[in-house]
Symmetry: C2
Subunit: 365 residues, 2 copies
Amino acid sequence: MARRPASGGSRLPSIKDVAAAARVSIGTVSNVMNRPELVSPATRYRVEQTMSDLGFVRNESARQLRAGTSRTLAYVMLDASNPFFTDVARGIEETADEKDLSLFLCNSDSRSAREYLHLARLEQQRVQGILITPVDAESPALRQIARRGTPLVVVDRTRAEADLCSVSVDDTQGGRLAVEHLVDLGHTRVAVVGGPLSIGQVRDRLDGARQAWREANRPQDALIHLPTEALTVAEGASAGQRLVGMAARRRPTAVFCANDLLALGLLRTSLAAGLRVPDDLAIVGYDDIDFAAAAAIPITSVRQPRLELGRTAARLVIDEATSARHRHQQMIFVPDLVARASTLSATRRPVAKAAGAVHSGPHPR
Amino acid sequence: MARRPASGGSRLPSIKDVAAAARVSIGTVSNVMNRPELVSPATRYRVEQTMSDLGFVRNESARQLRAGTSRTLAYVMLDASNPFFTDVARGIEETADEKDLSLFLCNSDSRSAREYLHLARLEQQRVQGILITPVDAESPALRQIARRGTPLVVVDRTRAEADLCSVSVDDTQGGRLAVEHLVDLGHTRVAVVGGPLSIGQVRDRLDGARQAWREANRPQDALIHLPTEALTVAEGASAGQRLVGMAARRRPTAVFCANDLLALGLLRTSLAAGLRVPDDLAIVGYDDIDFAAAAAIPITSVRQPRLELGRTAARLVIDEATSARHRHQQMIFVPDLVARASTLSATRRPVAKAAGAVHSGPHPR
DNA sequence: AGTCTCACTTGAAAAGTTTCAACGGCGCTT
DNA sequence: AAGCGCCGTTGAAACTTTTCAAGTGAGACT
């Protein structure tokens, strides 16, 4: 059983107390923990007993100070309540587990000030590496951290300058896929929903949408933009209100939402207002979070390989931390479109199974 | 601009380097950081300049080793991809921010081994306090950690022994609310969906459901249990399959799901199979996550005050860490029911607005 | 001129661990 | 009996910071 140390205070026993109680030197106790093969079985056993008797807990600060290495990675998430990012985190975790590193999650909640605070603390903590989906991918603070020696990789964004590792998905291409899909289905009035434009992902996705629209030779003004303040279900619902408020003949017959949360909110408002989806209004989302497929009318969405994103990012940061000759890389994944009921009307649906999701392959141009 | 230290290696400059470059003693540099009012403005300015010139980053391990205090809290979450827990985390964060503490999130993913690993590392890290939604609330490991001196509070579970602080919501009561609601609506065949029973929350919610059923004098065998392997959308869908496979006259007319993820999965399968919700099948979920309200048919759910849960837990752990005379407390919140379209058929719906969610007050017995 | 105060600054100890050169004893070999 | 190598153990230095008693010097007061 664990007992408190005999001393009056509540101080945890140190390696010194263990050494004294086990009648060995401090060095031996340390060896028991770090290189047990150097210690004779008898001594080792005695020391281990003493450690558990005393309730010894190794002091990580001291360990790290002396040894100079830490065993943790950190991921600074843009929005912990968006399942997309928790899935990325899961991917990171997988690789971290393999390498016996632990992962700390921090949430910047899209606020630069919070992000900065987290980064400062992580750097002071001398974590092995930082993964971050930054509020602003071009921030010079990121490079500074990397330059000072903490490996850092940008997740889900690319930096214009290639001065850092980054792992991302081609958002422009994703936007194109979405709109090409709608064009293929014959839609001629389409709305793109999303904002704020300060978020790079949003900009790129909408840009891609516009490109595809232009290339399909559709008139500029038949693609309208409904701005939102954030990428949330509530904002999606509010955009939906604006949409259903429009006169039926002016109203777009399809919308592309910059992420699935918006799409979910918009779907709900539209159904509540009596619109039929997809017949009156087709909806495409982005991210393919589980909730998109689980919606009552499963939502067509641009799928990003989020677990793979996380895994790759973790691999890169570990490489940067351990390999002497590391080159920065910009990895860009290609998204694909998962067509579901929110765009495929029953008559056009290629597969009879009502519940089935249809994975499109790489999209034909 | 930040420059690398002159020395060939990539070692970060230490306080000693700063002192040398600014021609002051080490103690003065430390004072600049920790008690700037003791340092003359001129010196302070010079030291601060030097720090930023050299790209000095304070070593948190050394600071913590010497000062003996840490400025971080940690929350070990049961399932980072369940929005309920990220909302609890947000509540914790709020309080942590106020006290200028930073919060690290760890994900045990419902696996004891991972949980144990995280706890061990956090204890070694000497964090200020640990908040945890444990896989097993009765685990003796939790008490041991608290006894050794790391303040620890259990979130969303109560310990049978009151040897730790805990903050939770009355799950039995929540189960009762759900089933009372269904009984009030006249349902006579009800299914409860959830598992595994090793999860305390699930046990309590189902117990509450049974109690309410018994008290309504409904026959035992008219309340059936559909077990699940986990509390996920996929498992909910699979339970839904079993449900729709039943002969219509034997099939329950309402289900109570142990959480909203199950309810979402089940809702989707039911709709896909052509059942009308709530007329053929009424559905009640648990947790009232945002996605429950955002579903195409908004789901009636038992609401827990999750932000408040987090805030309170954080306050308790901080109290335990700082106040000399702290008494362990078990705080139990009372859930309430949010009635929505998934149980209120159009004819019975009390409010005409199609999209509106109806918050029930404390439920009448 | 001597003493006192005050505002800053300094130097050294201390925190708990890791690391490594050195040591002691033991069994072998010659 | 002397020398050697080996195994297990030891002791001390080092990591970077905080803390605090003590020191310095300038000005004020008597």
